[in-house]
């Protein structure tokens, strides 16, 4: 059971209040029709899926109902930070 700090509610809440939103910082292509099939597939399906530091989206479904990002270690499951959408993580893979 993860305890996740919601940067909007400013408190730790249990994992069951949240739902997972997948890898963060993936921008929707502005001109999808200009992309090749490979580029579009990359946007739709291909993810980093790292063993280690992962930046990912979470949704506080039974709370403020807002999205935010988290930096989490996918081996230890430790959540190193949470931060609002639109901001950049303080911790990146190189730091750990």
């Amino acid at each position: 059971m993860l305890l996740i700090y919601c940067p909007h509610c400013l408190e730790h809440r249990e994992e069951e209040e949240f739902s997972y939103g997948g890898e963060a910082h993936i921008a929707r292509p502005l001109n999808p029709e200009a992309l090749s099939d490979e580029q579009w597939a990359d946007y739709l399906f291909f993810r980093k899926n790292p063993r280690g530091i992962h930046h990912e989206m979470w949704y506080h479904a039974i709370g403020c109902r807002r999205y935010f990002n988290a930096t989490r270690n996918t081996v230890t499951y430790e959540i190193l930070e949470t931060y609002k959408v639109g901001t950049q993580p303080q911790i990146t893979g190189a730091d750990v």
């Binding site: 059971m1 993860l2 997972y20 739709l44 399906f45 993810r47 899926n49 790292p50 996918t74 499951y77």
Partner: protein, 416 residues
């Protein structure tokens, strides 16, 4: 390889069972191999076996970072069925089921394959429509299956609660009598023994840490025990597939997540079939030892930690108690997680890659065990001939570019 038989059992009894032949050798790796298989789980060992047996390629090594069959092969709930919706998937899983039916004889190793039947329950009208559709699709593909009523379900599994007053009443089910279970460890051991006897080297406690390439082609793997050369490298690394792919500069459309299961204390025989429910989400069977083997869901988030969140098994146990009220008093013994590599369309990837001589068999997600023989069979063919086996063609990595996905989210046991 000395064959197992009633006679060999008697003969070895005379020497107090102290002189049984080792099940496989523990060789030092050669300098290079025709094929290196990365990952010594069921699928990897089956691939090695069929490479040697069907294609005569015996200069093969299986490189495993832990011990043989110690990953998801040891962690699944051993359910076998082939009632998938789409032709491509149904044919692949049915090939597998047919191989299961002769596997103990083929390997001279008892994999304890038990065709006790599989029920997939429906709890609402849409479930039942989906079940009707899937059973009809199965029958058109020559796969056994029927839609059964709650009364028939009660006959098959007498402890089940078919009361119309329950919160999610059982309205019917699909029933595949040829489905069942097998002994998961025995499958890995049987394939390993068979492959070893044909000359395949099992290299355990050796982790692949790099894939060496030269001019766009594979030349071997870097391991924790040094470099081993190979003309072809076949990766069957389940949850770690993405990590292995990154070693070759490739990306895969898979995400690795923990899938949990749990077993109860052993109890007297009370459930001689497999019961699955997608809607309330749980699946259960009873092992020969007497434990209730219960499958849970995947965690929603990516992870490599081989453990899962408690609330996931809590929901599963709620579902099981709803289906089988009598089991509410059974105590649970152990719980664990395995890392499954889930694909966007809940179907595997059996494919060549953009690197010459590098092949991937992954993305089996939450339902790979049942496919072990078929997966190994078509993958060995793909690797041996450097072109997709006819049944593997649809499971090419390229399907994510073309959009020809095979959506098996409905027939896959676990939602993800």
């Amino acid at each position: 390889m000395k064959r197992y038989s009633g006679f060999s059992l008697l003969k070895n009894a005379l020497s107090y069972h102290e002189n049984w032949q080792k099940v496989w050798r523990n060789p030092t790796p050669k300098k290079d191999y025709d094929v290196i298989i990365v990952g010594g789980g069921g699928h990897g060992l089956a691939t090695a076996y069929y490479l040697a047996k069907v294609h005569g390629i015996t200069n093969v090594a299986v490189v495993e970072k832990g011990y043989l069959g110690g990953g998801n092969t040891a962690r699944n709930t051993t359910i076998i069925r082939s009632n998938y919706l789409w032709d491509e998937a149904a044919q692949l899983y049915e090939l597998s089921l047919k191989l299961w039916e002769g596997l103990s004889q083929e390997l001279n190793y008892n994999v304890m394959f038990s065709q006790r039947g599989v029920l997939n329950l429906g709890h609402n009208l849409q479930d039942m429509r989906d079940i009707e559709r899937r059973v009809n699709a199965n029958r058109l593909n020559g796969i056994d299956g029927e839609v059964v009523t709650p009364q028939r379900i009660k006959e098959i599994a007498p402890l089940i609660n078919i009361s119309p007053d329950s919160r999610y009443p059982i309205l019917g089910a699909s029933w595949q009598p040829r489905g069942g279970t097998a002994r998961h460890d025995a499958v890995a051991w049987g394939y390993a023994r068979g492959a070893d006897a044909l000359g395949v080297d099992m290299i355990q406690q050796t982790e692949v840490i790099g894939i060496r390439r030269k001019g766009g082609a594979v030349v071997g793997v870097e391991t924790s025990n040094g470099f081993i050369g190979a003309r072809k490298v076949a990766c069957v690394a389940a949850g770690s597939s993405g990590v292995v792919a990154a070693m070759a500069g490739l990306r895969l459309p898979v995400e690795s997540r923990p899938l949990q299961a749990l077993v109860s204390e052993p109890i007297k025989p009370c459930l001689d079939t497999v019961v699955m429910s997608n809607a309330v989400h749980g699946y259960i069977s009873q092992s020969d030892k007497g434990d209730l083997v219960i499958g849970a869901g995947v965690d929603s988030y990516n992870g490599y930690g081989q453990r899962g969140s408690l609330h996931v098994i809590e929901h599963t146990v709620q579902a099981i108690c709803e289906l089988f009220p009598a089991f509410s008093r059974v105590r649970m013994n152990r719980q664990w997680g395995g890392i499954v590599d889930t694909c966007p369309d809940a179907c595997p990837i059996i494919s060549k890659t953009s690197v010459q001589g590098l092949y991937f068999n992954c993305g089996w997600g939450t339902g790979g065990f049942k496919a072990t023989p078929g997966s190994g069979y078509v993958f060995a063919d793909t690797v041996a001939n450097d072109r997709p086996h006819p049944l593997a063609k649809a499971f090419n990595l390229d399907r994510f570019n073309t959009g020809a996905l095979i959506d098996e989210h409905g027939a896959a046991g676990v939602a993800h």
